[in-house]
């Protein structure tokens, strides 16, 4: 709905400030202002009023609201307080009701004055509601009127009284425990989509044909994502380890499931199975209704969640172009640490370094004065697919920095 500022100002004797100066106050107390258009000598306000307020949907109504919020007087006849004869309805109330709801201690006179500003007449224990205020029907509605005129901002924040009993949420806490147990065993949590190409329960007007049903299990997706994520490992022999806790819709009911899986790029790399407490045996993917795990979980100590709560991290966008992986091997004198070498690599790798250096080998022959070290790094660009030449240039920078140390010998 559009409101002309010039038309609104006709209802005031004093000139109005520019609408921009009042936006915050109007938004905090009355309606949303979705735009202000500056037209030759006027402003057009695009306003959205909730709940529905037929009384405020024109310039006179808007002016009445503005006068109520700001406490400014309008031309006589514009804002007439309702009484027993003109009221649409009467609400019985005592002023302390409103204070109790809002956590305020306004006097009866202050409350009457606020209600009068929105044309609600107050006599004794009765509030007379103007005929066009269809939204005012309950004591709570009166509290809303007083609150918005007084200002939500000004209501003092008051501590909730403390409770004597210590609450517990056994099922929720068991689910939290499973999550932390799996994270501490090296598993990373996924939150997949509830929608699936097939299932038992189908939605109307689905977003896409492959999203028409609700999933019946977590494992189909988990297996797929285990395989897909293998490509992002830095070492081919490392596994991908994932889990999900989520609702599935199967057998005529919905149920919270846990699915856990581990995948290796090749059978020969396999060295680990799912955690024994799951009871999954040698199976690489296991799914179970969470309630079935409760007896097992009771027997396990609750691990500390702190290492897995990293709310101060900032997300770094990752490149969708392929990366180039390189290894650096060198001999250093005994006493030079892998950390020292890694620092030199990191500081001289340039902006294309995205992963590593990760040390994957450290070896000293008995009686020798030197240590053999090997690191893996990956280069990647946010803008394009790197060429071998570009990776080579970046690598050369690292190698020449390493070779500046006379006793370090890079193996080529």
């Amino acid at each position: 709905m559009k409101i002309s500022w010039n038309e609104v100002s006709h209802y005031f004797e004093e000139p109005l400030p520019k609408p921009l100066e009042l936006v915050e106050r109007i938004t905090a107390s009355f309606c949303e202002i979705e735009g202000i258009e500056n037209l030759e000598g006027d402003y057009l306000l695009d306003v959205k009023i909730l709940p529905d307020r037929p009384d405020a949907k024109n310039a006179a109504g808007f002016a009445r609201e503005l006068s109520a919020i700001m406490g400014w007087s309008v031309l006589s006849g514009t804002s007439v307080i309702a009484d027993a004869t003109t009221a649409r309805i009467t609400i019985d109330f005592i002023p302390s009701n409103l204070n109790d709801i809002l956590g305020l201690s306004l006097s009866d006179a202050e409350i009457s004055s606020f209600l009068n500003r929105v044309r609600v007449g107050v006599v004794g224990g009765k509030a007379y509601i103007p005929s066009d205020r269809i939204d005012l029907n309950l004591v709570e509605d009166l509290a809303d009127e007083v609150m918005r005129l007084y200002g939500v901002e000004r209501i003092p924040s008051t501590a909730l009284p403390s409770l004597s009993n210590q609450p517990s949420s056994p099922f929720f806490e068991a689910v939290e425990k499973v999550r932390v147990l799996l994270a501490s065993a090296g598993y990373t949590e996924i939150y997949a989509y509830s929608f699936a190409p097939e299932g038992e329960r189908e939605v109307e007007k689905s977003l896409a044909s492959h999203k028409s049903f609700l999933r019946t299990n977590l494992s189909d997706n988990l297996k797929e994502k285990l395989q897909w994520n293998l490509q992002f490992n830095l070492f081919e022999y490392d596994p991908v380890k994932l889990f999900e806790v989520g609702t599935v819709f199967s057998g005529g009911k919905e149920e919270l499931h846990l699915s856990v899986g581990i995948a290796y790029a090749k059978e020969k790399y396999k060295k680990e199975s799912l955690p024994a407490w799951l009871g999954a045996g040698d199976s690489p993917v296991y799914e179970v209704p969470l309630v079935q795990l409760l007896p097992t979980l009771e027997k396990i100590d609750t691990p500390d969640a702190t290492p897995y709560l990293n709310l101060d991290k900032t997300f770094k966008p990752f490149s969708l172009y392929p990366r180039i992986v390189r290894d650096i091997a060198l001999f250093v004198p005994v006493g030079v640490t892998a950390d020292e070498v890694a620092t030199v690599i990191r500081e001289n790798a340039g902006p294309l370094l995205v992963e590593g250096p990760v040390k994957f080998d450290e070896y000293s022959k008995e009686g020798e004065e030197r240590t053999s070290l090997a690191f893996r790094i990956a280069f990647q660009s946010h803008k394009k697919s790197l060429t071998d030449d570009e990776a080579h240039t970046a690598l050369s920078g690292i190698i020449s920095a390493l070779e500046k140390h006379p006793s370090w010998e890079v193996r080529k």
Partner: protein, 230 residues
């Protein structure tokens, strides 16, 4: 390789929220993701002709005669809990919710909310303000700035909204209010005896603000390049 795994950012946020609410006497309540039209809308005083009920906003399940939806908010658990539990009580409801809308960087068809409900005979708007200010300070830091606005939601009266200042901008983070008497009455509780503080906050949005995540779809992409950052 890495010895440790990673909790999903939304799990981390839920856990951190739980630490706060638990210390203030809350328990966690849950409810179904396939919800009846009654609990998702009617019990919450949402009018029969409200646009949110329409098929372009809400996922209705087949067959339509069963009047079942994918819950559009975890607020649907409030009337269920109110029916089944004698007040006073304090609950939070973390959970997955659904809206039938096209997805883009800031919109998903599924996302997470934490709803909260405090029912007592002496709770008031001042308590609600305190609770939510303390909660967002717990998540975003003690020197957070707030801006309160009056707002409107069918299941509360009066209703308010809270903005926080983050990165120099005001961001709307939660809708809240005093539970509407009709919600008490429909749940079979005496609205003259009890008052309720209700609030609902979108967790994906909080995670995006807190972690600087640019695209909501990353949260549901199952990609270790994303997940291992947290």
């Amino acid at each position: 390789m890495e010895q440790y795994g990673h909790l999903h950012p939304l799990s981390q946020l839920i856990h951190r929220s739980w630490q706060f609410f638990k210390s203030h006497g809350f328990t966690v309540a849950g409810g179904p993701e396939i919800e009846s039209e009654y609990y998702n809308f009617d019990a919450l005083n949402i009018p029969a002709d409200h646009p949110a009920r329409a098929m372009q906003d809400t996922f209705w399940l087949k067959p339509l005669e069963r009047r079942e939806v994918l819950r559009t908010h975890t607020t649907s658990v409030d009337p269920r809990y109110l029916e089944g539990n004698e007040p006073p009580f304090r609950i939070i409801v973390p959970g997955r919710v659904f809206r039938n809308e096209a997805t883009d960087a800031t919109h998903e068809a599924q996302f997470y909310q934490i709803d909260g409900l405090v029912v007592g005979n002496d709770v008031h708007m001042g308590n609600l303000k305190w609770l939510l200010e303390e909660f967002y300070k717990h998540i975003f830091g003690a020197d957070l700035e707030f801006r309160w606005r009056r707002s409107f939601f069918s299941f509360v009266e009066p209703g308010v909204e809270l903005d926080i200042k983050w990165g120099g901008k005001w961001l709307e983070v939660v809708g809240a209010g005093m539970l509407h008497p009709t919600v008490f009455t429909r749940a079979g509780r005496d609205a003259t005896k009890w008052r309720g503080l209700a609030f609902g906050t979108g967790l994906d949005r909080l995670a995006m603000i807190k972690y600087g995540i640019s695209d909501i779809r990353l949260l549901y992409g199952d990609d270790i390049r994303f997940l291992k950052q947290f």
